[in-house]
């Protein structure tokens, strides 16, 4: 304490030092004079003997500083000794901290990568995504609007757009002429798209504006990935001709790796001209649009201005369109937000979860420190009696806390590195996944937890050092120290821990219930032993339906003859996948119009499709080989279509039209059972099936039911397709089991994450409760001894102690349920088939917590029950 007094009263200390030394010299001089020296000689001699006055002063001044460093080192050494002497305490405390710190750092780093870090573009903050919100929620922009936006000058520096799909017909294209034919994602972009982003090719050049004109657009830019994959990274590919769906394109440039936007393996110019981009055009392009805002233009202002601009165009559209357009809205969001998608909510939930874990960890640590401070009451009292200042005591406890925090932080960064690798997959694939443990974040989390540890480390230090020396020494035993307030504090901490753990467990429980519900879902088909493979015919065949149908018919014949194949079939849409075609114009011949606005999926299938998937027939018949192109047109409905669109009318034998009054009219020949035909989680969607011969498609998925391992058929499948047309690539080969599994994996991953946080919280909470109860038992040994001596049964003692833990856990559970009821609703977007307030989950989780609490108090209770009254009474 003296060092700081000296620090603050430096000037006074300095004068005092001067006075002290001056006094010494004067006395010496006086003595020499008394012995007969002249005053001059006496002064000279005295000064000489004393030596360097300033040096002595300096040494005196240094005492304080040296003392501080020395005692700090001593504190640290003693702290280390204490930690080594209590390995149980140390291990629990350090692990607790490390897990809290590690989990938090990892989550923060992932959040930074997914939500905060700017995109790797020049002046990325100006980049926005622009969409038009139509009534049905479609965010794509029609080409006339894009043209109008391109011509404005005030809002954007520049705008660019791309279409999802090659020449707006097909998703991607068949790349031929280089090795094996391959399916690539070829996408049309406006020539200036990469200039909007500010990205330059690493080789060659970008598109010129002239290349957006018809006749000049046979050029292509390759992505780094496809350049490496299909061309082996060969630089000579520049200015060479490649073939996409049989059409020649000249490679003019290679784009850099790590390009986040737009999607695609390679890009070709989009031609927006009078044929497709005027309000009067028959066939608009549907576009995804980005823009670079002018500096200083806010999102709100850009949105408002663009909305005015867009509606100014309304008058040029046909009256029917005009009315619909008047209700359209323009939406502008930062490009970063578009790319991050909805991962933000999940990350925030996890952030809250790890925050809870850290809170529990700190509470636990506080509890441990409190318990130890109490156990060391006597030590503190002795040291206080021996004259140790309160400051000195506080510093001793502080040193231990700092050591704990340092150890926890060190181990925590290791945990963080490990956890981060595991959590990396939370980052949306379209964002750069180069998560690194950000030292700033680590420093922040360690700093925060160190603050918490030191804060909690100080509470016992302060209350212990306020100890009444006499009381502490008189009471003897280790029981001296903490008063009633500290007890209540420890109880409160345990209640809070239990409550937080319950909230986390409830969240994990809800996710677990969702996952269970999802895996129990009746798919409506048998997903085992199925192999899927996509085949896209080139866009050049768009107007030749017969050739499309012939290709697939021939392929199916060869596939059916492969050994190991039970059934070979094809479809344009298989269950759990995303729809390709929807219609809202279904009519029943001579009947009332069906429920309007209900979109119905349309799928073309081969006759054996339903049998291959194991889909059940409800009514009528399946398709067969007689349902050929020239035969009477037929359809099959699923039950949902029956029920929801045609409100349960028995339609078998009736005729319907898919696209309004123009027809063609098709006879309903059968009804099949529902399948999960739009992801796993959505209720079955109304669907109408057509024989593919009657409505051929450029794209079909081949479906093989195998006798053995479906993947074993992959090579044969490739060969069979190549034997029909060697230029036809097969892509997306996977088993149906894998497809279904992939839909469950993200959910399982979230469950594992939240679940491990919840288990961590439960374990920490249990440790906390155990600590409190077992401390209470130690403290009440005497009282228990008296009770036993007075005839209390062992079971009474057991009840007494467990009752205390039970009470605390019940309070925690009550508080936790209230917390869970308010918080779990933020989970609802992650849940399936279970309400956020699911009573079953709440009850189950509460029971688990109470059971764990009882177990945690049973161990010390048993110790209490075995107390020997003789020993206990001598305990003093």
């Amino acid at each position: 304490m003296r060092w700081y007094r000296r620090f603050f009263r430096r000037r006074r200390a300095e004068t005092q030092l001067d006075a002290e030394l001056c006094f010494h010299l004067d006395q010496q001089i006086a003595d020499y004079v008394a012995a007969g020296m002249t005053p001059e000689e006496a002064r000279r001699r005295a000064r000489l003997e004393f030596g360097g006055l300033d040096q002595v002063k300096e040494e005196c001044r240094d005492v304080g500083a040296a003392r501080f460093v020395e005692s700090l080192a001593q504190d640290m050494r003693q702290g280390l000794r204490m930690l080594r002497k209590n390995p149980g305490f140390t291990v629990v405390a350090v692990l607790t901290l490390a897990l809290g710190i590690g989990a938090n750092t990892a989550i923060f780093s992932v959040i930074d990568a997914a939500l905060l870090r700017p995109l790797p573009y020049d002046r990325a903050e100006q980049l926005v995504n622009i969409s038009t919100l139509h009534l049905n929620g479609n965010g794509m922009v029609i080409s006339p609007d894009f043209k109008a936006w391109q011509e404005q000058s005030g809002i954007f520096e520049s705008v660019g757009a791309f279409t999802l799909g090659f020449n707006s017909y097909s998703r991607g294209a068949n790349l031929t002429g280089v090795g094996e034919p391959a399916r690539v994602e070829a996408i049309n972009i406006t020539p200036g798209f990469f200039r909007v982003l500010g990205v330059q090719p690493i080789l060659g050049r970008s598109f010129s504006e002239a290349e957006g004109q018809p006749g000049h657009n046979q050029v292509a830019l390759l992505s780094s990935a496809v350049w490496r994959r299909e061309f082996g990274g060969d630089r000579s590919v520049l200015n060479k001709t490649i073939h996409l769906d049989g059409m020649p394109f000249t490679v003019v440039g290679i784009m850099p790796a790590g390009l986040l936007y737009p999607p695609g393996d390679l890009w070709v110019p989009e031609v927006l001209d009078a044929s497709n981009s005027l309000p009067q055009s028959a066939d608009w392009r549907m576009l995804y649009v980005i823009g670079r805002l002018n500096p200083g233009v806010s999102l709100a202002k850009a949105r408002a201005d663009l909305e005015v601009l867009t509606h100014r165009l309304d008058a040029q559209f046909s009256p029917g369109r005009r009315k619909a357009r008047s209700r359209w809205h323009v939406e502008i969001i930062p490009l970063r937000q578009l790319l991050a998608g909805d991962v933000g909510q999940l990350l925030l939930i996890l952030l809250v979860a790890v925050g809870f874990v850290l809170l529990i960890a700190c509470a636990n640590l506080a509890n441990l420190l409190l318990a130890r401070a109490a156990a060391r009451g006597k030590e503190v009292a002795v040291r206080a009696a021996l004259g140790a200042s309160r400051f000195r005591l506080v510093r001793q406890f502080l040193a231990e806390s700092v050591l704990l925090a340092a150890l926890g932080g060190g181990l925590g960064s290791v945990v963080g590195l490990w956890a981060e690798r595991a959590m990396k997959q939370l980052i949306p694939p379209q964002l750069p996944a180069d998560v690194s443990l950000d030292p700033r974040i680590l420093a922040f989390v360690i700093g925060a937890s160190a603050c918490a540890v030191i804060l909690f480390g100080l509470i016992p230090a302060l209350s212990a050092s306020r100890v009444d020396v006499n009381e502490g020494l008189k009471e003897g035993g280790a029981r001296a120290g903490l008063g009633r307030g500290a007890h209540r504090l420890r109880g409160l901490l345990v209640v809070a821990e239990t409550a937080l753990a319950l909230v986390l467990l409830t969240g994990a429980g809800l996710l677990a219930r969702s996952l269970m519900r999802l895996t129990e879902v009746d798919l409506g088909f048998d997903p085992h032993h199925l192999l899927l493979a996509d085949v896209w015919l080139p866009v050049t065949l768009i107007d030749e339906p017969q050739r499309q149908a012939n290709f697939f018919q021939e392929a199916l014949e060869r596939l059916g003859a492969l050994p190991g194949v039970e059934t070979a079939a094809a479809t344009t849409h298989y269950p759990v996948s995303v729809f390709n075609a929807l219609t809202t114009g279904v009519l029943i011949s001579g009947g009332p119009a069906p429920e309007s606005g209900q979109a119905i999926s349309i799928a073309g299938v081969s006759p054996d499709y339903f049998r291959a998937l194991g889909i059940r027939l409800r009514e009528g018949r399946f398709f067969n080989s007689q349902d050929a192109a020239s035969a009477r047109k037929v359809v099959i409905l699923n039950e949902s279509a029956m029920r929801r669109v045609f409100v349960g009318r028995d339609l078998v034998g009736h005729e319907i039209s898919l696209y309004g009054t123009k027809g063609p009219w098709r006879e309903v020949v059968g009804v099949i059972a529902d399948t999960r035909n739009y992801t796993l989680e959505r209720e079955p969607w109304p669907e109408i099936y057509l024989p593919y011969q009657q409505e051929p498609s450029l794209f079909m998925t081949l479906v093989l039911r195998s006798k053995g391992d479906p993947m074993g058929l992959a090579a044969g499948l490739r060969r069979a397709v190549a034997s029909v047309d060697p230029n036809e690539p097969v892509s997306g080969i996977e088993t149906m089991d894998d497809v279904v599994q992939k839909l469950v994996v993200p959910r399982r991953f979230k469950l594992v994450l939240l679940g491990s946080f919840a288990l961590l919280a439960l374990a920490l909470g249990a440790i906390g409760l155990y600590g409190v109860i077992s401390y209470a038992v130690t403290e009440r040994t005497h009282e228990i001894g008296v009770r036993v001596a007075l005839g209390a049964e062992r079971s009474d003692v057991l009840k007494l102690v467990i009752g205390q833990g039970f009470k605390l856990s019940l309070m925690g559970v009550g508080l936790g349920i209230a917390g869970a009821l308010t918080l779990t609703r933020y989970l609802s977007s992650l849940l399936y088939g279970v309400k956020p307030t699911d009573p079953f989950t709440l009850v189950a989780v509460s029971l688990i917590l109470v059971a764990v609490a009882l177990l945690a108090s049973y161990v010390p209770a048993r110790r209490a029950a075995r107390v020997d009254p003789m020993v206990a009474l001598r305990h003093e």
């Binding site: 002595v56 003392r67 021996l386």
Partner: protein, 113 residues
């Protein structure tokens, strides 16, 4: 074995012990302390003022000595040092150590001689 650094520690410890012992007799200021040590040791210890004052400040900082400004016989203010409880304990333990050490040294000198 007493090596370089330890020797200075050893001497410093001896000086501390002497100071504590003398101060134990009653509150005393630095000059008088120096004189007293010199006198008692019959001038064997030529105490360097250069080491006396840092030692006093060090002992005060450790809480073994307590300082107070008081008037001397001549009426002038001087800084008087007195022993604290901690200082007394320290002195006791150092005396025990010292006796053990000197006994051991004496034993060695006797038997080895």
């Amino acid at each position: 074995m007493i090596t370089g650094e330890q020797r200075s520690d050893f001497l410093k410890g001896t000086l501390d012990m002497l100071i504590l012992k003398v101060v134990a007799l009653g509150p005393i200021h630095g000059y008088a302390l120096a004189r007293r040590i010199q006198q008692i040791s019959r001038d064997v210890f030529q105490l360097q003022q250069g080491s006396l004052y840092p030692a006093l400040h060090r002992l005060e900082d450790r809480g073994w000595l307590r300082a107070e400004w008081k008037a001397t016989d001549t009426g002038r203010e001087a800084k008087f040092y007195a022993l604290t409880t901690l200082g007394r304990k320290q002195l006791e333990s150092e005396l025990v150590n010292w006796e053990r050490l000197t006994e051991a040294v004496a034993l060695i000198l006797r038997t080895a001689g």
